[in-house]
Symmetry: C2
């Protein structure tokens, strides 16, 4: 049927698509570690192209600047793409998931025609594609050869792009077209388009557009949240061309026609400014300024300015690993992906679970951010870490509303957070298999540990950076009001202990459990820490302390109660030192090791057993108790750590459970004296995105895994620990690593650690 | 802020939109009955334009041909539009509501520029707009004056369109531009565009497109269901013009520039073919043929051919009412809307609750179709009625699957039906007010009466038309397998009776009720009727009977059980003749007449009390028991009808409850000897769409109200009844009606009824 859908007269755009092709699903292909390596371990490469892997590769080649990112989507588009560019704070409503970042109008698109034929990469006309991402400079480059008909004109097309690390609103793209021989007619169409979608959903209304020789402008506004965004794209060609403006609705374009000659490559340079009305009340003017500035500086100087900023990022944060090219590249790559998504220019955004690189989890911010990603910035880019923490402090109203809604006092942070700070976890979602039967998502109701996780990250930041000013002006209030939540949510029972019942711990294979060890310990820690913060403030900034006490109506009696609750929270440890994950866990049916360790397994234990099945067994999505030991090592003896590691690690679905698990499992393996297992866990995290070992990287970067990877190296293999008077390492390098070098900031001073095997 | 979003250089499309305007909601304006009248009562008119009423008026001016419809959306578009064109059977998946008709690519759009300025109607440049829909021919016309700047060129723009009633795939549009004085440069852009949406949701992927002097072609395919649709638009101008093809992605266009001179109007005629791959394996070729045929015939002849088909529709179905222009126009208008939505060309579609005129209920087919709309066709266009019934017969598999899923035997028809015949009622929906708390929709689970409603309409069709062939080949199987469902779903209890518990009757203000009188009576009727059908078949077509018995494994014992169940279904009538709507209804708190009859009330009783509140009171969304009396008059004495009318009519939320209610309430008022109240009910139905008295006509035509309106006239005011040997009338005309004339088909013979006051 497909062929008869078209006829000879369909001559313009996309006439060669095959219908069957359009409709086909996109199973991802498998690449190997070697595909990504280069000698210097600074470049992520992919030679060749298989459309089935496109969506994964769009994620891999995401670039950005801490304000906006763009997936590695093709300038010419592709029928199987899941293109997208996301900017912090540009939230808009959506069904079920409440809110998501509206994918920006398409600013990266460029269309070429050679002798009247559209240059597309979804058929055999394109060959020899290669892509590379230079982590040192943030430059993504892609090139291919194109020849529509045997004997027809042949061109080499090269596309490069970077998002400026020095201007939150700027990106630049350069396309070079080189004709192999003779002459040919080249048509170039560059512009911006409102015809983008968030996986089928529309977020924009057109406000205005223009196209002229100095470029195109497009102003659009999000439908529900009413955020205007102005996009300006200036285009300059290195050769004279006939110009026509294109004014299709929602897609202003600059259309050029020129004669291409062999040996005389033509360069098309685009300077892009994208400005939301959140930053200025004249976004269009600011977007024009950003675009003009790039155009004036030109490609080389603009790239150099951005690359200089990247150089500083690597001075502050690079991790050098000798002897293991895959580890080297992976660690750098994951750092890169965190940096481009971390809020560099605002205190009103943080990193979503899938960063700014895809549609997964709709850019919502989970505990993944504070527990897994934030420490990387605390240690290497404290200013960014502060932005991320300020994002939470500025959303205390949402956390207080959530606590009040649940009948608690203080601040209970939402499980999923977005623009406002209100809870945005979906309550009921459709399953693909039986869409009429909705699944209840309980995490927004009862996965309560996040409030302590945020306080933990905040106090770690203060301890590492010494940023007392942040603690006084913003942080202390969050810690104190969070403690108030924990005290009000704890229930005193006849056993004289306080309990948190009907919760979900980090291990989400078990819902509605009582006295989850992780939650209870963190709650007690949070209460104790709040009291320490209070004492510290009283000592160091009594004015701040009394102002806070007044504002929060916090008195001695309440603080005494916090101490009482903290001291009497139920914490179960058996005579062997085993910490039971929650009440009744050890009595559950044991995990079936034959299934769990089957190397051919392709389904998670939850997919195999269902959530009810998981609830009945000891299978773990991630090792809850080990996470506790990781965060609060002072509470447990080395013997206890080992006992718990030996118990919980083998019961964990490391391969297909939570992507949060492997990196921290790597640390705990090192601490338990099992670095080889730790290295296996490390590789699982390292490969989550580059090699797509979980087959879901198409949805975006696994941000927690990326942050965890750095922690695995620094806190696991290097064994870095901080104390009041300094820091220490306790290395346990993997066999192949001959040298490990990294740096971090400690109380404003850069520290360098170099370890050799 | 709005002004600074734009600057002087935004010169092309839509540059004059004000941002505040784009974001504002659209409360509908109020029009009066007189606005719609003309002397001949054949034309629906609207003079003037207020954007706040646009979405309602788009619904009102919907035209179509029984295969596809187009809302009265503007050629030039409008920021507040909810544009759409829908074709039967082009279903595609959507979240929550499972499936909907994908709005067709935009084939009706036309853009004009006068001396470089875009001719738009969303600002003061346009004036004097008038719209009219000629019900005799199906021609929708719209005209306005446009002058961008004082002293600038002024034009009169006239747009006309019709969808061909003789070609399922064809529509034609004519635009005339007349310059007031001097000369001006006119630019015309005509094409098709994939950039359409179903209220924010995308359904299409582009397959191919082309643009040339002979028009544009666009092939798109629905995303989930994979239905290709080819759209071809040929454009012809009455004056020479400079042509440029437009090849923006997804929006192929023909672009013309010409000089416009005063006194020399320019005509732009577009010939449109739209063909789904469901009809042919070469949709693009067939679309070209349809478009070419129109272009060859030209506007006048093509319109005449379609108008001739309309003439026959009116010969068969017109209702003439003298003395009441509003009633006259309303009845014709509602008939028109039903005819354009009724499946003329296929047995695989039926009429959705909101016809093909909007997004309400996502084009799903409810009992509204069989009980309210189908009788109109049974009596006036039996071929169309047969198509609609065949749609159900061809979906027995879905009904059987639903029965089996619920543990029943036989065929249980879905509450909401779409392409496959599977149940597509959403189970949980978001409320606007608190989107995080979903509302459970129970109708798909327990509003079971629809199976009998379908059988009722089917047997009425057979009785009225005498179409025994349909009964034998398709209809009998549905009736028999439906009876099997009723027998298996009835529960015998210790009282010796059969009960249907936990159901919803037609009155949806009461959920989870036991022994709903309507449901129980219709179930008993269905069982009895199935036995009669069986006896009839055995007598008249014994081969068919035995083949059916074999296929359905239907034996004497089962039929005996049907008779037994039918005889023992619980049917409660008290000593006064009052039929209790369901067990316990009369014991509920009585309806508060002060609230219910408050003329200033703007909220439905459900909005006032909540569904739980309604469950506790006798408030009715629609009069369930009266509906029963309406359908099965042979079961009740005139005294009983009056008793129940006096009880239930005053407890009904006629104004803002179900839009299904008023028309049938009008019939029952006539039967109970209260025709003046009947006329008041009649007007409520008549005004549902034309005057938008329920403030929701923007979502589409109230199909059941439209069908009920015809029934109110024919079965209410005329009092038509059929018997084995003929028909009779028992008129009760409203005071103002001096003459009522209508016709219907009875066993293949056209009958004309003329009543005078």
């Amino acid at each position: 049927m497909a062929a008869s859908l078209l006829d000879g007269r369909l001559r313009s755009a996309r006439e060669t698509n095959d219908l069957g092709d359009v409709l086909m699903g996109s199973p991802d292909t498998t690449t190997t570690a070697a595909d990504w390596e280069d000698a210097g371990a600074w470049t992520v490469r992919r030679d060749g192209f298989d459309a089935a892997g496109l969506r994964h590769e769009e994620t891999v080649f995401t670039i950005g600047n801490g304000n906006f990112c763009v997936r590695g989507s093709f300038e010419e588009g592709h029928p199987k793409e899941n293109a997208g560019s996301f900017m912090h704070r540009v939230w808009d409503d959506m069904p079920v998931n409440v809110t998501e970042l509206a994918g920006l109008p398409r600013w990266w698109g460029l269309d070429l025609w050679l002798d009247g034929q559209r240059v597309l990469t979804d058929d055999d006309a394109a060959s020899g594609m290669r892509r590379s991402l230079d982590l040192r400079t943030g430059l993504f480059a892609r090139a291919f050869t194109w020849q529509a008909d045997p004997g027809g004109a042949r061109v080499e097309v090269s596309h490069e792009r970077f998002v400026s690390l020095v201007d939150p609103h700027a990106a630049m793209l350069r396309t070079t077209v080189t004709l192999a021989e003779g002459e040919a007619r080249l048509r170039v169409r560059a512009g911006a388009s409102i015809h983008v979608e968030n996986t089928g959903l529309l977020h924009w209304r057109l406000v205005g557009q223009s196209a002229g020789e100095d470029g195109v402008a497009l102003v659009a506004v999000t439908r529900a949240s009413g955020i205007p965004v102005a996009t300006v794209v200036r285009t300059e060609l290195s050769a004279p061309a006939e110009f026509t403006p294109g004014d299709a609705d929602g897609a202003p374009a600059c259309d050029y026609v020129l004669t291409l000659r062999a040996g005389q490559p033509v360069e098309i340079v685009r300077s892009v400014g994208i400005v939301p009305g959140l930053d200025t009340d004249r976004p269009l003017a600011v977007a024009r300024e950003a675009s003009d500035r790039l155009a004036e500086q030109g490609w080389e100087r603009s790239l150099a300015a951005s690359a200089a900023a990247w150089r500083q990022v690597w001075v502050d944060g690079d991790v050098e690993i000798d002897g293991d090219p895959e580890a080297q590249l992976s660690v750098r790559y994951n750092l890169f992906q965190l940096v481009i998504a971390a809020p560099r220019f605002t205190e009103d955004a943080s990193i979503g679970a899938k960063t700014l690189s895809g549609y997964g989890y709709r850019h919502h911010v989970f505990w993944d951010t504070e527990t897994f990603m934030l420490p990387v910035f605390t240690f290497t880019q404290p200013d960014v870490a502060r932005n991320m923490l300020a994002y939470r402090c500025r959303r205390l109203a949402g956390a207080r509303a959530k606590a009040a809604h649940n009948g608690f006092r203080g601040a209970q942070f939402p499980w999923e957070s977005a623009g406002t700070g209100d809870e945005v976890t979906p309550t009921w979602v459709q399953q693909d298999a039986r869409p009429e039967e909705l699944v209840r998502i309980w995490t927004g109701d009862i996965e309560i540990h996040i409030t302590a996780d945020i306080a933990y990250a905040l106090l770690q930041y203060v301890r590492v950076t010494g940023d007392e000013e942040f603690l006084r002006t913003q942080g202390a209030e969050l810690v104190l009001d969070g403690a108030r939540f924990w005290a009000s949510a704890a229930v005193e029972e006849p056993d004289g202990q306080f309990h948190y019942r009907d919760v979900i711990g980090p291990d989400e294979y078990h819902e509605h459990v009582d006295d989850n060890a992780y939650t209870n310990h963190l709650a007690a820690w949070h209460l104790r820490s709040a009291l320490e913060v209070w004492d510290h403030l009283q000592r160091t900034a009594p004015d701040v302390a009394s102002a806070l006490a007044e504002r929060l109506e916090l008195d001695d009696a309440e603080r005494a109660r916090w101490a009482d609750v903290a001291a009497r929270i139920h914490l179960a440890v058996d005579e062997t030192g085993l910490i039971e994950q929650f009440s009744g866990y050890v009595g559950l049916e044991d995990a079936d090791q034959a299934v769990l360790r089957d190397p051919a397994r392709t389904l998670s234990m939850q997919q195999i057993h269902g959530i009810e099945g998981c609830n009945r067994t000891q299978n773990l999505k991630q090792p809850d108790v080990l996470m506790l030991c990781y965060l609060l090592p002072e509470l447990f003896t080395p013997e206890q750590v080992e006992t718990n590691y030996r118990y919980y690690d083998p019961r964990t679905d490391h391969e297909l459970g939570s992507s949060l698990g492997p990196a921290i499992s790597a640390v705990m393996a090192c601490r338990a004296g099992d670095p080889e297992t730790g290295y296996a866990h490390f590789l699982r995290a390292a490969r989550a995105d580059l090699l797509d070992v979980r087959a879901n990287a198409a949805d975006g970067i696994h941000g927690a895994s990326a942050g965890g990877l750095w922690q695995a190296v620094v806190f696991g293999f290097a064994g870095l620990t901080l104390s009041e008077d300094g820091w220490a390492v306790r290395p346990a390098l993997p066999h192949s690593w001959t040298r490990l070098r990294f740096s971090f900031h400690h109380r404003g001073v850069r520290q360098v650690v170099e370890l050799t095997a």
